[in-house]
């Protein structure tokens, strides 16, 4: 096997459940810098926080798994009780910018300011150190990773050039790679005004997306990789869609080959040189 590695606890592959808690800032995935405080974007963002998040938290508890929530600082300001609840339930909280900035278009100092602000808001609210970083969807540059490293984050989970954790060559920063096909939101989110996605493609078939994820799970097992699932409560927490996560977790837990870990736990293992 080209890249099989030994995961902890005798496991042969790994699952990280990450949640991008963008609330209304998800609009900036499609339109960087757009005003998210109005219209369809605000309505869908709020509805994800109001209905999707409680359902997702309940499901994670039911399957006794811990997730990593990457949260823009301003979401913690807008929804403080929700973010406290996530922390209280024992999930990890990571930095996702302050207002879902397009970091790759900012000067290095402005990037640093955005990450500091975002992180400080999360830490002030939860009283816990924030050690993980995921780029707000958009673009970043090498300076972003330098800032992440300089600010003392222990890992980034942003890039797509691998399927197992690795140390970034120039900064030495740990990277827990992600891939779009394992992110629920781009398959399903839809809005009329502004058009989301911009071409207004129809939402995907839930059964078929679950099937894609089952292919990914088969591949994860076959090649011993890290399956880094990305969820948005707006999407997976919706009443019709939550079954997708239930079915997937049932399969993965029944199989017993995956080490299910948060970003922080993976980073700790990597730090100990165990992976």
């Amino acid at each position: 096997m080209s890249n099989r590695r030994i995961w902890p606890e005798g496991k042969t592959c790994a699952l990280m459940i990450s949640v991008n808690l963008d609330a209304e800032f998800y609009g900036r995935i499609f339109y960087p810098g757009i005003d998210v405080n109005e219209g369809d974007i605000l309505r869908l963002g709020r509805s994800g926080m109001e209905y999707g998040l409680p359902r997702l938290l309940k499901t994670l508890d039911h399957y006794q798994v811990k997730a990593t929530f990457f949260i823009p600082g301003e979401v913690a300001v807008g929804y403080p009780e929700a973010v406290k609840e996530i922390a209280w339930r024992g999930h990890e909280i990571g930095c996702h910018g302050d207002c879902h900035e397009l970091l790759g278009c900012l000067e290095k100092e402005a990037q640093r300011e955005a990450l500091c602000k975002g992180r400080d808001k999360l830490e002030a609210l939860t009283g816990k150190p924030v050690t993980g970083f995921r780029m707000p969807e958009g673009e970043i540059n090498e300076e972003t990773l330098e800032v992440v490293k300089e600010l003392g984050f222990s890992y980034s989970s942003s890039l797509s050039d691998d399927d197992i954790p690795y140390f970034h060559e120039k900064t030495g920063l740990l990277e827990l790679p992600i891939h779009w096909e394992l992110f629920d939101l781009p398959y399903f989110t839809f809005a009329f005004d502004p058009p989301i996605p911009p071409g207004q493609a129809r939402s995907a078939s839930m059964d078929q997306v679950l099937k894609n994820w089952e292919y990914e799970w088969q591949g994860t097992k076959r090649w011993g990789t890290l399956m880094n699932l990305q969820l948005d409560p707006q999407t997976i927490g919706e009443q019709g869609r939550i079954f997708m996560l239930e079915r997937l977790l049932e399969q993965i837990q029944a199989d017993e080959s995956a080490w299910i870990a948060t970003g922080e736990e993976i980073a700790q293992q990597m730090g100990q040189g165990d992976l």
């Binding site: 278009c105 958009g138 673009e139 050039d161 399927d163 493609a201 099937k211 894609n212 591949g219 076959r222």
Partner: protein, 283 residues
């Protein structure tokens, strides 16, 4: 047309090892884009991980494929190029950096293509035998390519159903046409996604893998009905990721079990087709 082993069609497993090129080209149009690393990281997966996983799958079925590689990727990722060659695969022409800029005259286009050939010779020991262009070629360039330029086949994307000798404006060349139907046989078209810039335009959903897979099967069935040859445009940055590699492996198993399909490199298909057409002419 009957293919070797009494097969009804000839399929080339074609892999476009584009790596970072297509992502750099898209990002360059945006402010600050020449320093972006997220999009390019999606492309880098191909040479870094995907290609090796595909080689592993191809070894399992003893299939030889054709890898269309921009010359700059040959320069930047020479390690995986060596691995591809060591497994007996063909490496073919795919421009320098996946831009459409081939030049404005016959001479400029000849020079551009020639510069890539020099890189192939330097890194692989020989020039490419065939061509999957990434931009517009002038008719006179195409006539030269498949004539005195010595290229044996054309396997361009979105290239119709033309059979036998490749034609330029209705005029036959000495090259063989191995069509590539991107609507069906290009996994990037079906399942790539990125938000900034929007990839694909309008951000259509990532397709269902099962639907993508069954389209591959239907296309091969059509090739068999038609007795034709064709190539895929699978991308290691897509096809080599864990879930889609499972799908590729399933497709390879289907091909290995099928008596209707002769799986070969483009240069093998071109060579066989040319000899068959010449024998027909002699009879």
């Amino acid at each position: 047309m009957i293919w070797p082993g009494k097969a009804m069609c000839a399929l080339n497993l074609g892999f476009d090892l584009d790596g970072e090129t297509i992502w750099r080209n898209k990002a360059r149009r945006l402010a600050g884009g020449d320093r972006f690393i997220k999009g390019p990281s999606i492309g880098a997966y191909g040479p870094k991980r995907g290609a090796a996983r595909i080689l592993e799958i191809l070894r399992e079925f003893d299939f030889k494929a054709t890898w269309f590689i921009p010359a700059v990727m040959v320069e930047e990722h020479s390690g995986i190029i060596e691995d591809i060659l060591a497994d007996g695969h063909e490496i073919s022409h795919h421009g320098y950096d996946h831009t459409g800029r081939y030049g404005d005259s016959l001479q400029e286009q000849q020079e551009y293509i020639g510069r890539c050939q020099e890189i192939f010779v330097k890194y692989t020991g020989r020039p490419a035998y065939g061509m999957r262009p990434t931009g517009a070629l002038l008719p006179e360039t195409e006539r030269w390519l498949y004539g005195e330029g010595g290229f044996l086949y054309s396997s361009a994307g979105t290239s119709g159903e033309g059979r036998g000798f490749y034609e330029v404006n209705g005029e036959r060349t000495k090259g063989i046409h191995i069509p590539c139907r991107d609507e069906q046989m290009d996994d990037y078209v079906q399942t790539v996604f990125h938000s900034y810039p929007a990839v694909l335009e309008g951000m259509p959903r990532i397709a269902a893998y099962d639907v993508v897979y069954s389209n591959w099967i239907r296309e091969v069935e059509g090739m068999a009905r038609n007795g034709s040859c064709g190539s895929s445009a699978f991308h290691p940055q897509i096809a080599g990721t864990p879930g889609r590699a499972v799908m590729l492996e399933r497709f390879c198993r289907y091909l290995a079990d099928s008596r209707e399909v002769w799986c070969a490199t483009c240069v093998e298909i071109a060579d066989y087709y040319r000899r068959a057409l010449e024998e027909e002419k002699d009879e």
